[in-house]
């Protein structure tokens, strides 16, 4: 249940972000979740879309530097302590977190968290062992 996330390299110039979203919109690509990592000189836009292959193709065609990265998406209880529990699970298994971000979807009472772990496959195993729901590709892209 590795899910494809699209990463886009952006210079810190006005309009770059708008340009990306314009291209996605024009091609009927729907953004599920989004996060931006920024530094002084550049930013990395990370997006979960409903059609990652198409997004990759279209953005590349427009001259963007893009990549596809594997991440995991988990659905956790939307209650205080929900996230803390998950992070505890990873810590106990000695798995590091490269980055993460959260969003809400159409699953009732669940918060959705995108995680890139130092070892994604291990993380999936450890989550499932602890009854944390790991979403499939289809579930994430189509937000079922």
């Amino acid at each position: 249940m590795l899910v494809k996330q699209i990463s886009v390299f952006l210079e810190n110039n006005p309009g770059r972000l708008a340009e990306v979203t314009k291209i996605l919109g024009e091609n009927g690509i729907d953004i599920r979740a989004l996060s931006i990592a920024d530094t002084t000189d550049f930013g990395i836009l990370r997006i979960i879309v409903n059609n990652p292959d198409k997004a990759l193709e279209k953005l590349k065609a427009e001259g963007f530097t893009v990549n596809s990265t594997n991440i995991i998406t988990i659905a956790i209880d939307d209650t205080p302590g929900g996230l803390s529990l998950c992070l505890r699970i990873l810590m106990d298994a000695n798995i590091g977190i490269e980055y993460m971000y959260a969003f809400t979807g159409k699953i009732i009472d669940k918060a959705l968290v995108v995680i890139r772990a130092s070892n994604n496959e291990e993380a999936i195993k450890v989550f499932e062992k602890n009854n944390i729901r790991v979403l499939t590709e289809n579930e994430v892209y189509n937000m079922i």
């Binding site: 000189d41 530097t65 890139r116």
Partner: protein, 440 residues
């Protein structure tokens, strides 16, 4: 305001004011001896001459100069490090180096006589700038492999001035010494001179207490506008000095107080102007690439060395009384070499660095600017998918690595910016690698 010092003084009037017919005779004698010397002692030149069927006996005077082959920086690179030296290494007492077009440096060597010659021609320049035994010469050119510092140093000592070998940098101390020691002459790059003036203004220094009279500036091109600015802000007469390590170092030529062209020590260096593309020798007054033949150098004699500097020649007698040919202030380059903070930078050097780090040569662009009178260099490198890691730290490390390697290779620090493919414009022909925003 610059003060014109009256009363022309020469270090070597016999040479500097020689009758032109006598000079031609002297040069011809020396050229004949030079050609024989390199033919016999430098395999590279023997082969070059054999290849075009020219024998030493074909060269009878400077009128035959055009028959001889050119020498380029590439030739020095191909024979790195000492392949073009004409004497055994025992006789080489000094080695200097400057930037090569890619990884390797351009290496030059001097015998004891060469060092004396260098000091001699340098002394001529300095005396023309009013230096004498009473002078205090602040040498703010870098000392080391670069020929600037030691070149001016030895010439100044020969004249008998009190030399302050302060080298480059440490601006606060430079200013301090100028006041405390009473420097009368300053040798550095013109942009550093302006930078000093700026720092003095900011610190509120009273320039009326300065004993500075004349500045001898070179190692980079500079305009008349810049000269005016330096003269106003530093209160000195600003003179242009020229040279390159391959030909000797600083002191190949220098302006006198009349600032009407740089006098070339042509008993030691014959200058010609050629058309860079056709190799044709151009008439007096026409601008083109200036090339030099070193008549008296023993260690690394060079024939018709291509400098890629654009200039023109003037054989009329100067108002100062010197008869030596004058070259115009350098107006540009015929190649893509840049001079940044006095250091030669070839864009291809960047390419080599990127190739070594990345395994490929991504598109790059050099942005050169001048901020607060100091040259800045920004290297923009296109971040292509192969190097695009999803994590910030990998990109930052990549950036840092490039920066470190560029600094190690070029010898100057540069800002490295990773950019999107769209930023660096593509062109139909040769890629526009350099954007020089400086107004010189």
């Amino acid at each position: 305001m610059g003060v014109l010092i009256t009363g022309n003084k020469y270090w070597n009037p016999a040479m500097e004011c020689m009758d032109r017919a006598d000079m031609k005779k002297l040069q011809s004698e020396r050229l004949v001896a030079l050609v024989k010397r390199v033919y016999d002692n430098v395999p590279f030149y023997r082969k070059k001459m054999d290849d075009i069927n020219v024998k030493p006996s074909d060269i009878k005077s400077i009128d035959d100069l055009y028959k001889l082959p050119f020498t380029t920086k590439q030739d020095l690179r191909d024979t790195y490090p000492f392949g073009l030296f004409a004497v055994p290494m025992d006789e080489i007492v000094r080695i200097h180096a400057s930037s090569g077009t890619t990884g390797k440096q351009t290496v030059v060597g001097y015998t004891k006589n060469d060092i004396d010659t260098w000091s001699e021609v340098m002394a001529r320049c300095l005396v023309g700038a009013g230096v004498d035994k009473k002078s205090f010469m602040q040498v703010a050119y870098g000392y080391g492999l670069f020929t600037g510092g030691l070149g001016v140093h030895y010439g100044s000592e020969k004249v008998g001035a009190s030399v302050i070998p302060i080298s480059g940098g440490n601006t606060k101390r430079q200013i301090q010494m100028m006041y405390d020691f009473g420097s009368t002459h300053l040798a550095c790059t013109p942009s550093y001179a302006l930078y000093l003036a700026e720092e003095m203004d900011e610190a509120g220094c009273d320039k009326s207490f300065l004993k500075l009279k004349v500045g001898i500036f070179g190692a980079e091109p500079w305009s008349e506008n810049m000269r005016r600015e330096i003269e106003e802000r530093l209160g000195v007469v600003a003179l242009d000095i020229y040279g390159l390590s391959e030909v000797m170092g600083p002191g190949v030529s220098c302006e006198c107080m009349y600032k009407d062209g740089l006098h070339i020590s042509e008993d030691h260096f014959i200058a010609e102007i050629i058309d860079t593309d056709t190799d044709e020798v151009l008439p007096d007054g026409a601008p083109g690439e200036i090339i030099f033949t070193t008549l008296t150098k023993e260690g690394l004699p060079l024939i018709r060395y291509r400098t890629h500097d654009i200039s023109s020649l003037n054989y009329n007698k100067c108002a100062c009384g010197r008869t030596s040919v004058r070259m115009s202030k350098i107006t540009g380059r015929s190649d893509d070499m840049l001079i940044i903070r006095g250091v030669n930078v070839f864009p291809s050097q960047i390419e080599t660095v990127l190739l070594e780090i990345a395994g490929t040569s991504p598109h790059y662009q050099l942005i050169v600017d001048r901020v607060d009178n100091l040259d800045t260099l920004e290297v923009q490198v296109e971040l292509t998918p192969e190097f695009f890691s999803d994590e910030v730290r990998f990109i930052e490390n990549f950036e840092k690595k490039i920066k470190k390697e560029i600094e190690a290779t070029l010898g100057i620090s540069a800002k490295v910016k990773l950019v999107e493919p769209k930023t660096i414009a593509r062109s139909e022909g040769k890629a526009k690698r350099i954007i020089d925003n400086r107004v010189l």
